[in-house]
């Protein structure tokens, strides 16, 4: 079967399943409280997977994810309140109108968050080491202060009156898209360059990888996806408060990916779900809830310091095994070995003497 056909079928199946689930949940066949937690997990997945691209795969320590989320959330909320409602109504005000309005506002949120990522990334990603952490932390704080003082979006009082458009389908479509985007990036030449930067920036640069460019690109994509997550959150409760985007939120997302395993997409998804469900599940313990929650995190980090799925997720390992057996069966190394650096810049040439200089 051709590759594109296979992908198309997979995409259609995923969409069909999501629509089906959406229908089930809208029909109140499940307690709305559980559907709500499920949807919050979906938003958390978007955020965690996007952060993993920059923290897990590129190895840059960003702790300002909540800031980008806030940019996406507020810009899209502003659009929805001032133009989105009109747009939806002019298109009939029904489901179609809202799908278009939400699509536009998601794109706007992602765009502005990406722009913010570019503004933060260009100066700070030229630096090495921990500087990015400090700059992103600062950015997160600046955004909160800004939001507290912009009266057009409610200021410290919070932004209320945002149209509530929450659908299981939409939230998980964005989550799935995020996973697909990050997965494809990581498994492409671009992704190899990112991983080479994570492993050894100096070596990567020596091999011809334009490290700054790749880091900025990864950072912008990660920020834009975080912005899309913010859009979902803005339209979820219909209310935004700058308090929700303080640095503690960035750390929550960071914990998700560290718990799940840095550099593992499945791990991020799992971490996001566990950290969304766990606090809710522990509600039965009342005052001890946060104590138990913290204890569980500590125990997890002691027993599995590399995260739940470490850097070898079961899916990845399985794929690799399958690939290797396929190659072995095919008789010797069919594909020319490619190192990350050569993919990024220059085509590999055989050495003149016919000998492999490796």
């Amino acid at each position: 079967m051709p590759r594109y056909l296979r992908n198309l079928i997979i995409a259609l199946v995923v969409i069909a399943v999501l629509i089906g689930l959406d229908f089930v949940f809208q029909g109140r066949m499940l307690n709305p409280y559980f559907v709500r937690i499920l949807m919050l997990s979906g938003i958390a997945i978007t955020l965690a997977v996007s952060l993993n691209l920059i923290n897990g795969f590129t190895g840059q320590f960003s702790i300002g994810h909540a800031g980008f989320m806030a940019v996406g959330a507020y810009s899209s909320a502003y659009f929805s309140v001032n133009y989105g409602v009109n747009l939806a109504n002019s298109l009939g005000g029904g489901k179609v109108g809202w799908v278009v309005a939400l699509l536009v506002s998601t794109l706007i949120g992602a765009f502005f968050a990406g722009l913010a990522g570019l503004a933060v990334g260009i100066p700070s990603l030229r630096l090495r080491g921990d500087y990015l952490a400090i700059v992103t932390l600062g950015f997160g704080q600046i955004i909160v202060v800004f939001l507290n003082n912009i009266e057009a979006v409610g200021g410290a009082r919070g932004y209320s009156g945002i149209p509530i458009v929450k659908s299981f389908f939409w939230i998980f479509l964005v989550a799935v898209l995020t996973i697909v985007i990050v997965y494809n990036i990581v498994n492409s030449a671009f992704g190899r360059a990112l991983i080479s930067i994570r492993e050894d920036e100096l070596a990567a640069e020596a091999m011809g990888v334009n490290t700054t460019r790749y880091k900025v690109m990864a950072f912008v994509i990660s920020s834009a996806l975080a912005g899309a997550g913010g859009v979902l959150l803005a339209h979820f409760d219909g209310y935004l408060n700058p308090k929700s985007f303080e640095f503690i939120k960035s750390f929550e997302i960071l914990i998700m990916i560290i718990l799940g395993g840095l550099g593992s997409i499945v791990g991020s998804v799992l971490g996001a779900i566990v950290l969304t469900v766990l606090p809710e599940a522990l509600r039965g313990f009342a005052e001890y809830r946060m104590v138990i929650y913290s204890l569980l995190l500590i125990i997890l980090m002691i027993t599995r310091p590399q995260g739940l799925l470490g850097s070898t997720g079961p899916l990845k390992a399985w794929r690799k095994r399958r690939k290797l057996t396929a190659e072995n069966a095919g008789g010797g190394p069919a594909a020319a070995p490619t190192s990350p650096s050569t993919v990024a810049t220059q085509p590999e040439r055989p050495a003149p003497g016919g000998e492999n200089l490796r």
């Binding site: 840095l262 766990l278 509600r283 039965g284 009342a286 980090m301 799925l309 070995p337 190192s339």
Partner: protein, 441 residues
């Protein structure tokens, strides 16, 4: 550094290595994978087990007609936990008293309590949880305005009345017709302090130090500023801080240079106590003015003598000789280890009783009639004064000003709501209607 980073790097190095030499695979250790999968499964099962354990009980709830469930949530472990603790006590006391007298039409009251840790996001989540899972018929909650604003859309869309005991931000009840409050709004409180400063204290120049992150502080600041100017006063200096700051000397020095007659600090008790201490240390002797955010017994523990000579506007005074207040204070002390009830306890107590009153008048727990009964509340005799609900679902009621002196709050004056309200003011003490509620004192 992150623990395990070394290991991670070495594993991924191996991955890169593999690409170079595809013929020599390094099989990932099977036990490691199995262990991680096992751990994940255990975690998810654990989580599901916890969340499901109460599911059956939940399913039976609508059938069980014997109890009436109401919800409460508040900041029980965050920065303002004191307010919420008091408010929770107030709600529980009102419910316990109602249950002692046989409940509402024979049905007992059950209060479901949740902790929002002071986060607006968490408040929204909890509201959904209380409504969808616990099936409460009404929520008495939302101390801090930001949290009430976050909770309101869900309560409104589910048609469950949300009665905020102490959110003074005007925007809260504008969310919809199911959102009520039983306290006065920021605008009134700001005006009260401004008129007290101008008329009673004869102040001409005022300085303001407010929490720029809190809608409460900003609201009070705006209304104080506007009214004080209207009354002929001048705002000579305006400084801001952030909740949790510990050093205010910079702002205070700047205020000192402006030589104000009074300093208005519409913050919460924790920060205010520190500000007062540092202001006195710098030699600022002017009276400090504040709002109901000061009203916690802990203010004295944190601030001590530095607070002497300050004034605050609040909802009620436990020292008032009125018999309603005295019997409330006595009973509260009996129940809660001799603690004196602060304004938040009184407000939550009133809000809960107001809900019970509406339930009795409505005669049903259906949301529509209950909402209408709440909206029609008039001259309800609460410990914080006569409460009427106006067309905007706000309470029309008086505010009082207290003087802070030697670890005590001394009653100064009561300021009635303006007569320009669309409602007839509840100034006349004539009880408009007789209350049937079992615990009217």
């Amino acid at each position: 550094m992150i623990p395990g980073l070394k290991k991670r790097i070495s594993v991924s190095r191996a991955l890169v290595h593999d690409r170079l030499k595809p013929n020599t695979p390094t099989p990932p250790s099977k036990t490691l994978q199995l262990r991680s999968v096992f751990l994940c499964v255990v975690l998810v099962i654990l989580a599901l087990a916890f969340s499901c354990s109460r599911q059956p009980e939940n399913g039976e709830q609508p059938v069980n007609r014997s109890t009436i469930k109401i919800g409460y949530f508040g900041d029980l472990s965050g920065p303002n936990y004191n307010f919420s603790q008091s408010a929770m006590n107030g709600v529980l006391m009102a419910a316990a008293k109602m249950n002692q007298y046989g409940g509402i039409k024979g049905r007992q009251i059950d209060v479901v309590i949740e902790d929002d840790r002071g986060s607006p996001e968490e408040s929204a989540r909890l509201t959904a949880k209380l409504i969808d899972r616990d099936k409460v018929i009404a929520i008495v909650a939302g101390g801090v305005s930001g949290n009430s604003l976050a909770a309101a859309p869900k309560a409104q869309s589910s048609h469950v009345p949300l009665i905020s005991p102490s959110s003074t931000d005007p925007a809260v009840t504008k969310t919809g017709d199911y959102i009520f409050r039983t306290c006065f709004v920021d605008s009134f409180q700001g005006e009260v302090m401004a008129s007290f400063a101008a008329a009673t204290l004869q102040a001409k120049k005022a300085a303001i130090l407010f929490d720029f992150n809190s809608p409460y502080g900003r609201g009070l600041t705006d209304f104080f500023e506007a009214s004080f100017r209207k009354l002929g006063g001048e705002i000579v200096n305006k400084q801001s801080y952030k909740q949790g700051d510990t050093d205010f000397k910079g702002q205070l020095s700047s205020i000192e240079a402006a030589e104000p007659d009074v300093i208005y600090i519409p913050g919460y008790y924790g920060d205010v106590a520190l500000i007062a201490k540092q202001a006195r240390a710098l030699g600022l002797e002017q009276p400090l003015l504040g709002g109901d955010g000061w009203d916690a017994p802990e203010l004295w523990q944190l601030g001590g003598d530095a607070l002497n000579g300050s004034y605050m506007s609040t909802h009620y005074s436990p020292d008032s000789p009125s018999p309603e207040i005295q019997s409330f204070v006595e009973e509260y002390k009996q129940r809660y280890q001799n603690l004196s009830p602060d304004a938040h306890a009184a407000l939550a107590y009133d809000a809960t009783r107001l809900l019970f009153d509406a339930l009795e008048r409505a005669g049903t727990t259906d949301s529509g009639p209950l909402r209408d009964a709440l909206a029609q509340t008039k001259d309800f005799k609460g410990v914080t004064g006569l409460i009427s609900i106006d067309a905007d679902r706000n309470a029309v009621k008086p505010a009082i000003v207290l003087k802070l002196q030697d670890a005590d709050f001394i009653y100064q004056e009561t300021i009635q709501p303006k007569t320009s309200e669309p409602q007839p003011t509840p100034q006349s003490p004539s009880p408009a209607r007789s209350r049937r509620s079992g615990f009217s004192n």
